[in-house]
Symmetry: C2
Subunit: 225 residues, 2 copies
């Protein structure tokens, strides 16, 4: 890991318990009102048999999909978050760095219908790790589904170019946060990086805030070629 | 044509001579500084043998491509603009509604490498007409290249949803303009509309303003499936 990646990794270690509380107490309004249902709908529309939730955090999305009868696994680099996920009763959660995704056994599942990355691609090399893992872990024409902050909105006043950024987060809901760097990508870059690795955009969605009517996130569905 | 399309058509009739002057006198800064070279680079990168410039206006882009030895034709619904284009000396310009693109003979060219729509998809049904024409006029795996205002920037204060809008334009450079309605599309809609018609996004670019460092336009390259 380089320095930014190490700081990112460490911050999630520090934030694990406050993040788990923020999610479980529904403290992040944009998630509760818009982006949770947007990712769920996008996944369900694809009618997957199996999924791997990459960067599953405390596991809410896995549990939603399990409850709809879709089999899958959640992985996260944070042992604390996987611990919190397992405490809800299901064992289909594993600790893994994104660079190690292909070194695990996921029960009887060898190839997944889709990988899901819900606000979980935060580092520079994550796209490369996940795209590469997809070529081993996905069925033919499998999908990678990515939700992230809408780049044009998330860009703020800075120049619209891909690169590491410092986050200003110190609070989420009532929870104190340990800030972390994150790697900003333009819409152009997101698509280019996956296309360069033998995926092709199948669908793009721009979930909008219900009050401002402006997009707050973007969802890419890439298909393995 | 419905009422909006008729008003759009009429406004270009009214604007033809002032538009021709505005382009030829380089009065539109964003074009001179950014978007003209962005569309040219995108086309040239694809190394096309032939092109059809759909909504070519007074013909500057055709002339640039002709001068690089690429054969092609320009079409525009405005007889006045095609007249202005021909006055520069080349005869490869034709008047055509977008709904009639397949009813013309383009010299010896039967199938084009690409269709180019540079800020020229302004009506609601234009995408359907052009996508449909592409299936007759394009070579196998031919491309449709679209440049338009970046939806998130062009959206302004209105809700981010596709629909007809009134333009506020009354001046371009030193020229008086007759305002026209135009059909706004989100990034999601642009991609969805072409994907629904058997094209697939190959590349997306977001040319940025050199001073603000924010995207001012977006370029989609769709490939026929």
């Amino acid at each position: 890991m380089d320095e930014n990646e190490q700081r990112l990794f460490d911050s999630w270690k520090n934030n694990a318990s406050s993040w788990t509380r923020a999610i479980r107490n529904q403290q992040i309004e944009s998630r509760v009102l818009v982006t949770n249902s947007a990712i769920l709908e996008t996944v369900i529309e694809l009618n997957p048999k199996t999924f791997l939730d990459v960067g599953c955090g405390e596991g809410w999305l896995c549990r939603e999909l399990f409850s709809k009868g879709i089999d899958g696994w959640g992985v996260d680099a944070s042992g604390e978050l996987i611990e919190a996920a397992r405490q809800e009763g299901d064992t289909r959660f594993l600790v893994s760095l994104y660079s190690d995704l292909t070194s695990h056994k996921f029960g009887d599942t060898v190839h997944f219908s889709c990988l899901i990355c819900n606000f979980s691609i935060l580092g520079q090399r994550d796209v490369a790790y996940i795209a590469s893992a997809g070529h081993s872990l996905l069925k033919k024409q499998g999908k990678i589904i990515v939700q992230t902050l809408h780049p044009i909105i998330a860009c703020g006043d800075a120049a619209y170019t891909s690169g590491w950024r410092e986050t200003a987060w110190h609070l989420i809901g009532n929870e104190t946060f340990h800030p972390a760097p994150w790697y900003f990508r333009t819409v152009e870059s997101w698509i280019e990086e996956f296309h360069a690795r033998n995926y092709r955009l199948l669908k793009l969605r721009e979930p909008c805030h219900l009050v401002t009517n402006k997009p707050i996130s973007i969802i890419f569905v890439f298909e393995q070629q």
